[in-house]
Amino acid sequence: MRKIDLTIEICGSSGDGTLAAGDILAMTLSHLGYHTLSFDVYPAEIRGFGKCVAHTRVSDAPLYSVGRGVDVLVSLNDPYSIEQAPSLKERAVVLFDSWPLKEVGEGECVAGHLKPGNYLYGVPMGELSQRSTHGWRSRNIVALGALAGLFDMDVDGFLERLTSKFKKKAGVAEQVAAAFKAGVDYVRENLLKIDPLSLALDKKPEQKGYALLSGNEAAAQGALDAKCRFYAGYPITPATKIMEILSARLPREGGTVVQTEDEISAIGMVTGAAFMGKRAMTATSGPGLCLMSEFIGYNVMAENSVVILDGQRGGPATGLPTKTEQSDLMMAMFGTNGDAPRIVVAPTSVAECHYWVAEAFYLAEKYQVPVIVLSDLFLATCKTNVILAKIDPKKLAANKVPTAEQMKDYRRQLVTDDGVSPRTIPGTVGGEFVVSGLEQDEEGTPAYDAKTHTMMTEKRHRKMRTALENDVPRPERFGCNGKASLGVLSWGSTMGAVVEAVERACEKGHKVAALKQVVLNPLHVEDLKAFCADCETLLVPELNYGGQFANWLSMHVSAPMRRLCRVNTRPLSYQDVLEEIENISGDGK
């Protein structure tokens, strides 16, 4: 049972340092021993004064999803924060700038929009910033100081983390420290904490080995750990961060990063690098994946090992560039012409972003297929404490090398029992080959006859079955054992909300179970069927309108499924799922 479970939102305008403050808060809380899960909401426009919200959930136990409702709102911009006021919990705390630059009319201040049970603390953030740093830009740091002072956090530890973040910028660390202290001192000297919220820990939780990472950062680390040596991409929200990280780190590992002129070019370059035997990857979002669909088919046909990460966002088209959604599933599964089997994985957590990106390289190389990793904006940008998995060194070289016997008469598309053909790296004497997007026989000669097409299509699908048998982990069931009144099936980042909701539902006595499967294609259908048979009712929560995952599952099992579909631009909270569980289960626990 959690003793601490608070959601803190810092809300401001672009330019207020809102997201920077949120980042520092999450980083520091994590360092102080708390479990945190944070993500940002920000405008799509690069310039301007749009609304930004840094959302941090903090607990003394591991976190898997966002919570609904806000416990602490720090307002750096009241007009925007007013929009957040309906999310305040009954006993929420609001910290606001009590000395704005000019007088405001009634209702233009967040103080006029609180619930009767809310606690309001005014801190003259701008004034304190001005006094301590001779400028207004440190209001965000003053706010952090006030927050630390109000919640009696380890102020010295906070300050240490804060100054270390800015130590490379001459003079900035001192200013930041001054602003932070001004916030702390103001609260201690002027405010009395009367709200019941607390961040007090009985003892500092064991955080050894934890790193605070976003899904994008974890994915980039996964690529590095898997010995990715080529990355090409075109900047797009939310995947750009991966390229930023790799462009700094990959060259040091002997790799190459190319920012291309568009996504078609990016996947083309990745295809070429993979053809040459390099572990190669691109990362994009839905609009980019659309452009890459032709090359996905090409790589299926050419049996080439590419890794494509799709950070899903609201769509269709350019859609909602900075809002999360899970609506690219069908495109990832089927996007391209023809029967084009590919492996699709959807990590459910930041830690899995690391593991499954690394695993994607292994699967792509071993089975000579495109592997699509489905992340989403929430998972890509949310930061949480993780322990990264160690990558099995055996998986770093998975290419099926031809035997000496096979090299005597090398056939790139050799039909084998497992569907995987031995592959030479171009330039290998005696192992020369030709591939194209045309259907081809074992030698790579274009062939349009029915027999060849049937044989090669079967071969390409056989690889999926082999992968399923050898390398796709069985789905993981959790929640209650045995027969369940309700079974929950979900995917990707929504699984975090399901994990917490099922845990809480079980604590309340509901007979609920859930099934987690990270690899969505190929699918362990028998396990899926067994789970469905165990559950009286099935619920599939996901972030798209029509229930794409439910539709995908329905292609394999005939059980009716209730859908919890949202396209409200926010990740599902565990409360969203829990409420639905309770609605369905009723008293029939």
């Binding site: 009954e90 606001f96 009590s98 000395w99 704005p100 000019k102 007088e103 405001v104 009319g105 009634e106 233009e108 201040c109 103080a111 006029g112 609180l114 619930k115 009767p116 049970g117 606690y119 309001l120 603390y121 005014g122 009395l192 009367i194």
Partner: protein, 342 residues
């Protein structure tokens, strides 16, 4: 739709809000309080500070009460200016609110006698929920409390501190015992009664110095007493809290001057409770009143008058309290007895 704004989140303000809502279902009612805590039973604050009692148990109306009545509650939002000329008030955080009708029931603040003002930073106050929370936070470290002056709040504290095993000294102001002036005979009775309860009473003495000493305080008196104490608490009466009205143009004397119908000199502005100095035709004079009972009566009456009634405020009713069998009269406080506890 009328917008009624009430300044003050105590008894008068809350009862006025409820009365306004009952009388006008459509009106906007905004209740503004400088205090960060909800409206509490003030007579139980001392018990809360000295015992394990939770703060929530002191709260008169829970948040739902305000939601149900559609009363907008603004806590921790001090008013710094009232401008009757454009019917607006300014909050400390620079938000200007306009009203159609305004009720001032800002209550009282501590009276700090001039001779104690040099030691203000060493002397704690006790009348609000905020004060009580702060005192409770220190209570574990307190063995000896010295009360300076003498008033009803001091008696409340005595009634809570003695059962909690705290030593209490009362330096009884030589001039008055608020909210009533005692003659020497009454003062002697009071001192004797408190002494019987175990309070160290320094009657007719006068604090000349308060300074820090060994983590606590040293209180010196004109009579030569040197009291080593953990806490010095001001109990020297209350005065109307009116600072925010300084440039309002509203007539004030000790309190906000109001006629018998609680109307101030500014149009559409009323005052009630401890901050109001009410004209009573039967006395042909103005009187301030204090305490829960008066606030209750006046808050309700002011609200009715704001909605069109023309009722006169009654003279405040006396209350009684007993100490060691002796009975004393008070105006405004609910009757209580130290004998029940000791």
């Amino acid at each position: 739709m009328e917008h009624y704004v009430i300044i003050g989140g105590g008894t008068a303000g809350n009862v006025a809000a409820e009365t306004l809502r009952q009388g006008d279902a459509q009106a906007r009612v905004t209740l503004i309080s400088a205090d960060p805590t909800h409206y509490v039973y003030r007579h139980r604050l001392a018990d809360f500070a000295a015992t394990e009692e939770s703060f929530d148990s002191l709260i008169v109306h829970d948040p739902k009460w305000y939601e149900d009545r559609k009363v907008q509650l603004r806590l921790a939002q001090p008013v710094v200016q009232v401008r009757p000329s454009d019917k607006s008030i300014l909050l400390a955080h620079r938000e200007r609110i306009t009203y159609d009708k305004l009720l001032i029931c800002s209550g009282e603040r501590h009276r700090l006698p001039e001779y104690l003002s040099p030691f203000d930073k060493f002397i704690n106050k006790f009348s609000s929920g905020r004060d009580a929370i702060m005192l409770k936070a220190r209570m574990d470290r307190i063995e000896h409390v010295t009360l300076l002056g003498g008033d009803s709040i001091g008696l409340q504290l005595i009634s809570a501190l003695l059962p909690a095993g705290k030593k209490v000294t009362l330096v009884m102001d030589e001039y008055r015992f608020w909210p009533f002036e005692f003659d020497d005979k009454q003062k002697d009775r009071m001192a004797e009664a408190l002494s019987k309860k175990g309070v160290q009473v320094l009657k007719d003495d006068f604090v000349t110095d308060v300074q820090k000493q060994n983590g606590g305080l040293l209180v010196k008196t004109r009579g030569g007493a040197r009291i080593a104490t953990d806490e010095a608490i001001l109990c020297s009466g209350m005065v109307p809290s009116l600072e925010f009205l300084a440039d309002s143009g509203i007539d004030m004397q000790e309190g906000v001057l109001v006629n018998e119908r609680l109307e101030t000199s500014a149009g559409q502005v009323w005052a009630a409770g401890g901050c109001a100095q009410i004209y009573h035709p039967e006395l042909n004079d103005y009187r301030c009143s204090t305490g829960y009972v008066n606030a209750l009566v006046q808050g309700e009456l002011a609200a009715r008058n704001m909605m069109g009634a023309l009722e006169n405020a009654p003279l405040c009713e006396p209350g009684k309290f007993r100490i060691s069998g002796e009975e004393f009269t008070t105006y405004g406080w609910k009757g209580f007895s130290l004998d029940e506890k000791n």
